[in-house]
Assembly symmetry: D3
Homo-oligomer: 327 residues x 6
């Protein structure tokens, strides 16, 4: 059973930087979730440098305790979690990196561990979700972003990038678009692109659509859509307004506050997460580090969702928590 290492009397700013002071472990037994860095950014179309995202998010996660009063749970009572470190990637070589990422994730998924992956540019969701689908079958995507990332790449010789992976996912069948939903799209996209994305099967809500709903309404809609299917939650930090996430490569003005985002994620309690990623944090454009800070706390909300799901399962099975966690 792995828990954050808050040694008695040791201040939060001391120590090697792992996510939330989780132990840095690469053994996979007795692990419920693994925070994993994926420092790959060769898929970026505009500003670049998210390879330093995992390091920055870890730095800003040092004050997070495993308890979540807003959700009423101490995650460390229900889950064993580790910081697995970073994946090996080949900067400059997309296809080769996709392959090696998928290989590295296979043992994680095979053990039933939920990866919480810190990006990296969004193109890495290609292997993240594809690897999940190898284990669980076609995946329901819950996708917070200002872009749909479902563009068809016109050039066969340069197929991949952070704008097209979900088009590939739909075409290659590892995303179950019919139970997937995308939220927050905005910006100076083409006029037909949202409809083209919907034709792939995705439900797509623009920023204006989302702004008209309460967090509760939105979450109902999402939960209805995914039902009890295996969900991969992918969160592009540019879902937030550029003021809340200046440190990202393709910011779109007029987005969401962190508080709005927290309410949306907290409202998802109950969904069956099999994997998550949080991508596009670009520290070199984040002088206040507020982007990485927000990212760290959003990732912690993902962990909280896992803990809540576990608690429900234990409750349903009539098992008390004290029995569930044996160190």
């Amino acid at each position: 059973m792995y828990r954050p290492l808050f040694e008695k009397g040791k201040p939060g700013f001391a120590g090697i930087r792992t996510f939330m002071h989780l132990p840095h472990v690469q053994e996979l037994d007795q692990v419920d979730y693994a925070v994993i860095g994926n420092p790959f950014d060769t898929g970026a179309s505009y500003a670049v440098g998210t390879r330093f995202g995992p390091s920055a998010i870890r730095e800003m996660s040092q004050r997070i305790r495993p308890t979540n009063p807003a959700q009423g749970i101490d995650t460390s009572e229900y889950l064993s979690g580790i910081d697995y470190g970073d994946l090996t990637v080949f900067p400059g070589y997309i296809e080769q990196t996709y392959e090696i990422i998928q290989e590295q994730l296979k043992p994680i998924y095979d053990k039933g561990i939920v990866p919480i992956i810190l990006g990296g540019d969004h193109s890495i969701s290609y292997p993240h979700v594809k690897a999940a689908a190898e284990k669980y079958g076609p995946i329901s995507l819950v996708h917070f972003d200002s872009h749909s990332d479902a563009w068809k790449h016109i050039d066969e010789k340069r197929k991949f990038g952070h704008g097209s992976m979900f088009w590939h996912g739909a075409m290659e069948g590892w995303i179950d678009t019919g139970s997937s939903i995308q939220m927050g799209m905005r910006g100076t996209s083409s006029l037909t692109h949202y409809d083209e994305t919907r034709e792939l099967g995705f439900e797509l809500l623009t920023t204006d659509d989302v702004k008209k709903l309460s967090a509760v309404e939105l979450c109902s809609r999402i939960k209805e859509r995914v039902a009890d299917r295996p969900v991969f939650l992918t969160f592009d930090i540019d879902f937030l307004d550029p003021v809340f996430a200046p440190g990202t490569g393709t910011p779109e003005v007029g987005g969401f506050t962190t508080y709005e985002a927290l309410q949306m994620i907290r409202g998802l309690a109950g969904i069956r997460l099999v994997g998550c990623d949080l991508v596009e944090v670009l520290p070199d454009r984040d002088p206040t580090r507020v982007t990485a800070l927000n990212a760290a706390y959003i990732a912690f909300e993902f962990i909280t969702l896992l803990a809540l799901h576990r608690r429900s399962a234990l409750d349903a099975a009539g098992i008390k928590q004290s029995a569930a966690v044996q160190e």
Copy 2:
């Protein structure tokens, strides 16, 4: 017919920086709107350096495409636009600069081109609006700002600055205050100043006034006020909260979000814009560049208003767009 130069396969970050990749042209035939930099900041009363505003806004405009899904229009189908470059100014010499700005704008207005002017400190609206009035008669001002800029200057020897140009406009008659409206005033102004401004004829809504209205309600009020008169839209970036626009010279806390501002501008579809400026972007106080980013996208919304107006006119005339744009 001039359109943004997105060459096939060329990434958005490549190329000489013009606004939205518009062609840099100084010929004025076949032009509907001209983005123009006015790098003058000698009128600033506090922090100074908006002479670099045009350059910073252009830099942050590189990802803007000419399509606006939120408004349902591709501006490049209805309008021919150019980046005219920057006006000549004389730093340190206000009156002489006013004169030369007005001279430089005359051929623009004379051709019926709508200038989208990027400041520069707000004092430059003096020649911008005055030159418009020479062409169109007294102008209806639609003014987003945290300051009314309608102070009487007490000292005859130092008459000009970025707090008094609209007092001059009212007194000299090139602003039609009776159909003009100012929105967003706040800060530690004098207790009598808002009423003094109203006595000039302006409608003035403080930030508290505006916060009580929906964007739809506000826009109705503005549109009723200006009706079908020629409008100059002047947007001081300090209308936004300092968090959304840190890079400005006289920030006032407790302002508006970018999303709120976008809704207000989008709601103005239908008004008859003859000129616009977007001022007070100060890059040296904008380490995240979010101020310049917001400014670029707001300027693009101005262009969208022009395109919508053109489309309405064409529709009304029974002309199909395909006939309207001949390259």
Copy 3:
């Protein structure tokens, strides 16, 4: 009678930096309020450097005029105010500093002057409030913060820090917890801490609690709670969202906007303030200086509350303002 020194024709950016151009005076006669810097930060548990808070806040206060149109009052007509300078502190030595702070504040309180203290880390509220209680008896605390700062310190040898001073205040009796209220708590605190704090007698509203109330509703609740008792208003800048206050040591995501905070403070008109502090501004993490800017204007709202209270008292006594202020 001391008023801000806006010399005719002298620009706001000129001059030695005192708060709002108040005269720097250490005489205490004829003074209603004193802005005082307390550059102590040894109590900080995470990021540190608020010793430069007073200087940064003064720098960003240079554009504040003593008039408050939103509240309809010119504070300089009702109050005589000074910038007292900074207190002497001993960096690295908490207990010794508490003592000397208390000594330095005694003559201020004894004269009935209301100190507006600029921190400094929040631990300094220990001597601030304790010194107030020496004069006025147990104090009603109105506390805006993302943390309750009412943790019991487990270690007797290291008793003090910026997370425990209000536990000490409750235990030592200089806070009247039964008429005190805390607002804005959030973050990954322990699950039981809010209730433990309530058991000390405090009313505690989490961020989620506050978000459900309008500013008017919240202020009614506060005013009912404190009634006409002597109030110390303590404002930790991390009450604001980290985007609105990046420059602070222990930011908690998902907080309040400046506009929300202004409405809450403005709504408190009528309470009987005997002292205030505004703490945790950390300039080295504030590259846009927006944290210090917000802090300066919030402190000015405190001064406005004092002026409004004075005006009410004069009105009640049938005294006209012109009689009240004699220079």
Copy 4:
């Protein structure tokens, strides 16, 4: 007798920001030197914002003690010094500001006080030196800079700016060019400009010229040139390499280190300073604040030169220091 206010036990970071903790005084009796801010920057030709120079330099001067071990003197034993505050200026109006600066400096010079003026853009040397000449006759200029600032302005209607004041000084006769020297010129100036400047009478050493000399050799040359005439020392911070002074408006690559500059100034001990200025510190381009830091310490070296001169005079007169300073 005024000395820096280092109260016992009060840390250097506490207190209202005056230069080197000097008392902020506007009385001129018993004063040897006065540090004066001149926050005027309307003369700047490129980046602008030196109006915040005095404030930034004061902030970075807080750790300076009045002792100078490298020069072997405690300046406070020989000199009475004050921080006079900032001059009134009219931003946007050069000629009017020149006039009012000169008026404000007159009483300083008349009392025989040496002003140490912190700019501001370099154009302010026009009234600084002109006012000195009114008192002392034509002045010997010792000028450290990467630009000669002796350009003839071609346009009569826009005569003034930070590149031409020493041409005016030469033409109007308030600079004695025959005993003046300029050092450090470099950059992409015209090929004939250095010779044109020399034709005005100035000795001009380019950066390459200076790099070939030791500090001792350079100082001999300067001292020979100025002999015992009244000297105004003007130091443009862009004399330093842009790495040592990034915060300035017209940086020229390939300049001097701070250590080199210190050696040059220290070597000037003995010259008869009647005034000095240190200009072109632009805080908004100085994120590490190293420019303001260097400026503060260089200004302190000017004060040291005054103290050394005083000590020599006292020694020559056979007066012991203990008699010289009576509090």
Copy 5:
């Protein structure tokens, strides 16, 4: 004949950003040199983002005039130069980008135009030099850098990156290593790498080697090595000390000052340059912009070398400059 566009009375900060205000032209007649941006950075092994290098360097080049007093020449009298804009690149796809770069450079070289290419990461020298060799035969490389970039890539599937292009050049024969020289190597490289590089034929001088030579001595050595062969000058900005070039991806401590670098380049007058690049400027790590500033001025020294070479040729041919430049 193209010259920088300094319009009379127009300040340096005004206008669309081209290098040194050169006209943005893509016609290739009557052109001696073309400044070209190459915004490709997929070859970077550590920090990434040099795709914004060209834009940043152009921004910081606005104050450069075409005259070089240190070298005694006005480049615009001898050379016709343009800003060609940026090359098309495919971010994320190295091999495909090499091909297209080479294609785009071919017409430049074919016309005998000298490209001054602004990077981008150093891997782009592969197509830069290779394209030169197609025109001129094997090239003599003059290489300023802290790394030799002559590593053999061990993995055939990922052959390219910014550490290996000169190994490829040596192996593929488009670099004439026997007349090539590398200077400035340092860092925690392998112990055998320098010798391995020398075995390829390169002369290699470490930082320690170079520090022992005067600029004059170094330049003699370089000129002897390259004699009158066609030279490609490649300058990696990390040749400079990280303090002089913080904005770069793989900084190595303990390097050179800008002044040292300027002296080295100026000393190369006479060599036969057929192409140059200046690479690895990473604006997102350059908050003071001093890296881009230094880069801009170094690029201008390259242009100066071309002008000096042209003047010598004209002198040798007995042609007066006035005949050489006909507009």
Copy 6:
């Protein structure tokens, strides 16, 4: 045998941040040196925040390979090294922290392991050196700094801070001042302080003294002074010029370049290091991160000195390296 973990194909920017990718180990067998963070900064007298120094230095150490070509050695062939993580400290409580630091270092020294400690403010050298002396007897201090840190604290109740620890060391006898040397002192210290420090027995060279010596001369002097006694090398990053180390709390202008410092440390090969610390790196004032970068590489030079010493010992003993390192 512990060596840096450069996994084949894994880029330098990937992975949990330990110093130079050393394994994070807290077992002490088979260890020659341990890099240890000491995030304590309560002793700081001016700017504060070096508690984040260890984290920042680790981040900037990711590109360091264990080979040092300038010194001709691969440190990993001679030494087994670990990153031990950070010490426990009590922020706000100096004396208690001194005690616990000393306790934590005891097992390190007892095993004969050389600690390379990353600060933290310089006051932590108190327990660092004192703990060394417990093992080795009075220590020879080799001290690079702009301050002597040998001030007597006048107040018994506040005895400790980062300016006095070496006075305590001299008085308490754990420093052997007669074989100790301090270098680089400058700033506006008192006129008598250097002599007072010399009276404690230290050799003290001011910055001016050092500038007059070559690195070779300086190193001879140091080596002569310490001979073969056990040396603690303490390096305050403010030894460097503020331009080379802006991120520090008490910068002193006119210091040394990184290259100069490297030469001085490299020249110390042969001395018998028993411990080292590198202190006063303050990341919040280091926007370019060049301070942390320089610190990381200087710390690596310390490791190199250890490796060179080991190689000499092995050579002297006739042992070949291959026998020395058995994994």
